[in-house]
């Protein structure tokens, strides 16, 4: 079985995040693998560990500039077998449809010798939070779409997920190949151990260009994007903030504030 986990390089949540010329500022200093992709890596590793030794290979796949290597490096530290980085200046500014086009071509290339059975993604990236990529990637691949999985089992050439929606909990199944996006309820991601961290340093990272993938650079990137950020500005902090310390009248002060604002 061959599994590809897509991982994204995003600004650290704890850092000061910003825009530069309409795209998210990404630098190696305060960037990291998207936290929710840890659940995707964990799901892939659990499937691998449930199978006999040597029967499953897990690839981590990312796309982006040179800094994005940090994302697949993190996946190697967690224990994936191989790392692939689509590194091409022409992908900068891609929208979700361009990104899905590139990742689908990379999955196809990874599957040239041994077909890819499963693609696993996180439920969202904590920078854009659109949650659109899993659907778009499944569509481009022609794989079954099993998204927002809070549980995943793979058996008998099929994947089955639990999908918790507000009105009902669904169980959905599909024959492989399938794309599965997992939520942060699906598992508890492991921590990298020292041995894997050391090993990850020297593991090779395969690099693809758009030419390697047979993609016309004009069909992806900022110019092909169906959306463009035309203005981005930091929001001013809330004004006139008040904090009081309760000395016996804190509750009354709170209530009076709400009454004054017409909120009760």
């Amino acid at each position: 079985m061959r599994i590809v986990v897509t991982v994204k390089f995003v600004p650290d949540l704890q850092s000061t995040r910003s825009f530069t010329e309409g795209t998210v500022t990404r630098t190696a200093d305060d960037g990291t693998m998207n936290e929710l992709d840890e659940n995707a890596v964990e799901a892939a590793l659990q499937i691998k560990e449930s199978l006999p030794e040597g029967e499953c290979e897990v690839f981590a796949l990312t796309m982006g500039g040179a800094d994005a290597t940090a994302a697949v490096r993190k996946a190697l530290q967690l224990g994936v077998d191989h790392a692939v980085h689509v590194n091409d200046d022409a992908v900068a500014g891609s929208d979700v449809f361009g990104t899905a086009t590139v990742l689908a071509a990379a999955v196809a290339k990874i599957g040239e010798e041994t077909p890819v059975d499963l693609v696993i993604t996180g439920m969202a990236a904590l920078d854009g939070l659109t949650s659109m990529l899993p659907t778009a990637l499944a569509h481009k691949l022609g794989f079954a779409q099993l998204t927002l999985a809070s549980a995943l089992t793979v058996a008998d050439d099929a994947a089955t997920i639990e999908r918790h929606l507000p009105d009902a909990h669904d169980t959905v199944s599909a024959k492989l190949p399938a794309l599965v996006s997992v939520t942060d309820e699906a598992n508890k991601p492991r921590y990298p151990n020292f041995k894997l961290i050391m090993a990850a340093r020297s593991k090779p990272i395969a690099t693809y260009s758009l030419a390697d993938l047979g993609i016309d650079p004009a069909s992806v990137g900022a110019l092909a994007a169906r959306t463009t950020v035309v203005d981005a500005s930091p929001r001013p902090p809330r004004e006139n903030r008040v904090t009081v310390t309760d000395k016996g009248e804190g509750g009354v002060a709170l209530a009076d504030f709400l009454i004054e604002r017409g909120l009760v």
Partner: protein, 317 residues
């Protein structure tokens, strides 16, 4: 005038409030038509949609197969027809349906928007990102646009003049799909507005120690929904469906009350765009106070009962 399709959120026969907000927004962009997935709506629902400006209610009945995103998307695509704009409420399910619609039609798409307008023949959207610390304006370059709107970002107002909405059944051939629904286990729907749509949210975190009595009481008093931090849902004190945060529910109520919540970045990302933020926490260093319009450093057990007594007194007056 352009036709603007609005995908209706409904729970059974009840039209959800964000749909009325979306129809209000749609009226500023063109002539709204409503798209109803499910069994044909009752007369009350049709007339409500008409009051908010829908000229037509296009009904697509897909049965249980409609729970598969690609089946729902086929239905929506047929019902939208050649309308240049589709507005959906920004939920996880609708994002999937709308993404497939955009792939099918070449539309450009923005989700989690707080508003939209025409600028030079193209739709532009407004939204907040990075835990509501930035404002972003996005132009949709494609001729067709899909906009996912957040609840509570447009004030729902009925149309001044409106006719009765006509009901138009849309025939769709259910596409062959690779996914099979094995089982559907309906969940009990709590009374009142769901967390994502509530105008008031009262949330409890670690500081509750697992006792939500006061949090629920305050939520009831304010007519709001009960939320929680990740800490609290991880402890099993309250169900995951109550979690406010980047991976739980994102809320933008007029009033957000954080009780015993420190305000970790994951939590702030799910509530920072709220209208007014109020926080009660025993720890004066809690980061929640950096974003609260009004904060009380104190014990929940002292502050909340006193605040509720004062509010009841005010309401009774």
């Amino acid at each position: 005038m352009s036709t603007v399709a609005v995908l209706v959120e409904h729970r059974g026969e009840t039209v959800a409030q964000p749909t009325l907000e979306a129809l209000t927004l749609a009226r500023t962009l063109g002539t709204p038509v409503a798209i109803w997935l499910g069994d044909a709506p009752a007369a009350d629902a049709v007339s409500l949609l008409g009051e908010y400006g829908a000229e037509e209610v296009r009904v697509v009945s897909l049965g249980e197969a409609g729970r598969v995103p690609s089946v729902a998307a086929a239905g929506v695509t047929a019902a939208v027809g050649d309308a240049p704009v589709l507005i959906v409420v920004s939920t996880f399910v609708n994002k999937e349906i709308a993404t497939l619609f955009a792939l099918e039609t070449g539309a450009g798409m923005v989700v989690d928007a707080a508003g939209a307008e025409w600028v030079g023949g193209r739709i532009e959207t407004m939204q907040t990102v990075f835990a509501a610390t930035w404002n972003v304006r996005t132009r949709i370059n494609a001729e067709r646009a899909v906009v996912g709107v957040r609840p509570n970002t447009t004030m729902a107002v009925a149309a001044e003049a409106h006719g009765a909405a006509s009901v138009v059944p849309v025939a769709v051939e259910t596409p062959e799909v690779r996914e099979t629904i094995m089982s559907v286990e309906p969940q009990a729907v709590p009374d009142g507005a769901p967390l994502s749509e509530a105008a008031v949210v009262v949330s409890g975190g670690r500081g509750t120690g697992g006792d939500y009595t006061l949090v629920r009481e305050l939520a009831d008093l304010l007519g709001g929904a009960v939320g929680a931090s990740r800490d609290a849902t991880d402890e099993g004190w309250i169900g995951h469906e109550h979690m406010v945060g980047q991976t739980g529910t994102t809320v933008t109520p007029a009033l957000y009350v954080a009780c015993g919540i420190s305000g970790a970045v994951h939590h702030r990302g799910g509530m920072q765009a709220s209208g007014t933020i109020v926080a009660v926490n025993i720890d004066p260093e809690a980061p929640i106070f950096e974003i609260a319009d009004f904060g009380v450093v104190g014990d929940l057990g002292d502050v909340l009962p006193q605040a509720m007594a004062r509010i009841r007194e005010h309401k009774g007056a």
